[in-house]
Amino acid sequence: MAAAATDVSDLSPAQAGTEALEALPGRARDLVPGVLILAFIAMALPVVGSVPTWVTLTVAGLAMGMMLFIMASGLTLVFGLMDVMNLGHAAFVAVGAYTATLLVGPLKGLLESGSVWASLAAIAAVIALSMLVTAALGWMFERLFVRPVYGDHLKQILITIGAMIIVEQIVLVLFGANQMMLPMPEALRGSLIVGDVAVERYRLVAVGVGLVVFTGLALLLARTRVGLLIRAGVEDRAMVEALGYRIRNVFIAVFVGGSALAGLGGVMWGFYREQFTVAIGAEVLVQMLIIVIIGGLGSVTGCFAGAVLIALSTNYVSFLMPDLALVSNILVMMLVLLWRPQGLYPVNKH
């Protein structure tokens, strides 16, 4: 990859360091996947044949993509950094959604007020609680189920699937087997009408939340010491330890953070669905795994691009060729991996 180096040879080290901190790193960005996704969106317009329909499908795809990204982002970091195949990740999505239902009663006034800001405040409160609960669950999950099986992928698959079943059964015991209701806030129902185009309000909120999460993660990884550790650890855990860092603590933080993000995704997905069962997470597990694979293990940018691509293709194909809807994700995965076997934005690993 060619690098656009910034010559700081005339600067003092402090100036060079400041220059580097204030500017984005002077390296050429790989824009090809992003450009291809934009081209894919543009090419869908003549195929769909109607601008309003195309806008609706695209916004729906982006909203779904954002929610999938939020749910899968923690999974890719766990895969990439810890080399742990946590197939129980879907359980955190379910716990996030179910936890959200606990606040529907206490926050009924805000949720039914008709005020956008009140609705957003209510959603923020729900998100905060769900993320706290799923973070705590993630901490216990890592300690009980994941820690004993570091380094053994087969055992990780078996134990995390088993743990997911346990968590789901506990949820059923606590909440019952009936479908759960999580009504969307009144102010976020319906659509914004611009000419012939109708865009659902909640989908715009989902896109906004997804962008905030992506930006937050990108800044965390690029601008903080923890982010440095995570990026380095994804590449070479042993060298990070040789520099004096207890990578195990980073593992735990990433696992807990990833679980909390899955909980956030569960809240957003639960509000979108409005009614769901304990399988709400398991239903998207395959899509999350595909997103992690086509994005590149450990790559947040790749996860973002992969989620958008998967969601958009699902929406377009479901509209144009419903018979292919179920296999569209697999087709996209095949095409991406044929083009880039390591994923859209691979992370070099030692």
């Binding site: 990859m1 060619a2 690098a3 180096a5 910034t6 010559d7 700081v8 040879s9 600067l11 003092s12 080290p13 402090a14 060079a16 360091g17 580097a20 790193p25 002077g26 390296r27 010491r225 440095l228 550790l229 990026r231 380095a232 994804v234 590449e235 070479d236 042993a238 060298m239 990070v240 330890e241 040789a242 520099l243 004096g244 860092y245 207890r246 990578i247 992370v347 070099n348 030692h350």
Partner: protein, 242 residues
């Protein structure tokens, strides 16, 4: 009373899987100066460094560093005790810039400007590719970054594994200058090398390994001045090559 060695390996054995790599290594690294660990490919030199660093755990024996038994410590604790490690593959993080690679190594959080200027004085090229990702650098540039990273903060002991491998002569000269600078600052270095000509003027002490054991130790001056000893010990390397 002779100075206590900074590093002392006593009867160290290391198994990697079913392979018995280190078979009772006895090695003392004196404080200050540069100790060279010579030996043919497969002698166990890299395994020795990795065992000291805790990346492989010794199955028997003791490792003492600055009076402390570090045999049972984990790698981060060994590093924080004052040991820096430059592995054979240099261990540069490809996705991090040079600046980020060094920033990560600055455990205290920020660069010591004076120390960074000192590093720039013998690795001036670092300034040119300060913001380039590690993965875009040449082998020689990576080696500079690896050593700069190891010394960005003062360490009691540097473990360096075959730094001149595959490097151009001009880069090798740079490295030699860097090691002289480090020695002048009383930094202790344990250097694994196969290039005897590179180390004969740099090294103060030498140990030769073969088949997982130390087969010779002494001063570099003694080995440099004794061609028959060189032939006997270093021909271990020549036999392996042929």
């Amino acid at each position: 009373m002779p100075d206590r060695p900074l590093l002392h390996l006593a009867g160290v054995h290391t198994h990697i899987g079913e392979y018995h790599i280190l078979q009772g290594v006895e090695l003392q690294v004196p404080r200050s100066g540069l100790t060279v660990l010579l030996g043919r490919n497969g002698a166990g030199k890299s395994t020795t460094l990795r065992t000291i660093m805790g990346l492989w755990h010794a199955s028997a024996g003791r490792i003492r560093f600055d009076g402390q038994d570090i045999s049972a410590l984990q790698t981060p604790e060994i590093s924080r005790a004052g040991i820096a490690f430059v592995p054979e593959d240099m261990g540069i993080f490809s996705n991090l810039t040079v600046q980020e690679n060094l920033r990560l190594a600055a455990i205290r959080g920020s660069f010591d400007e004076a120390r960074l200027e000192w590093i720039f004085s013998f690795f001036p090229a670092l300034k040119r590719f300060w913001l380039r990702p590690g993965g875009t650098l040449s082998g020689g540039q990576k080696q500079m970054v690896a050593i700069a990273r190891a010394i960005i903060e003062p360490r009691k002991l540097l473990l360096i594994d075959e730094p001149t491998k595959g490097l151009a002569p001009s880069i090798v000269d740079n490295l030699a200058q860097a090691f002289e600078e480090l020695k002048a600052r009383d930094t202790t270095i344990l250097l694994v090398e196969q290039n005897f000509n590179f180390v004969r003027s740099l090294g103060d002490h030498v140990a030769v390994m073969d088949d997982g054991r130390i087969v010779h130790h002494g001063s570099m001056a003694e080995l440099s001045g004794d061609e028959s000893l060189q032939a006997r010990l270093l021909s271990l390397h020549a036999r392996a090559v042929h």
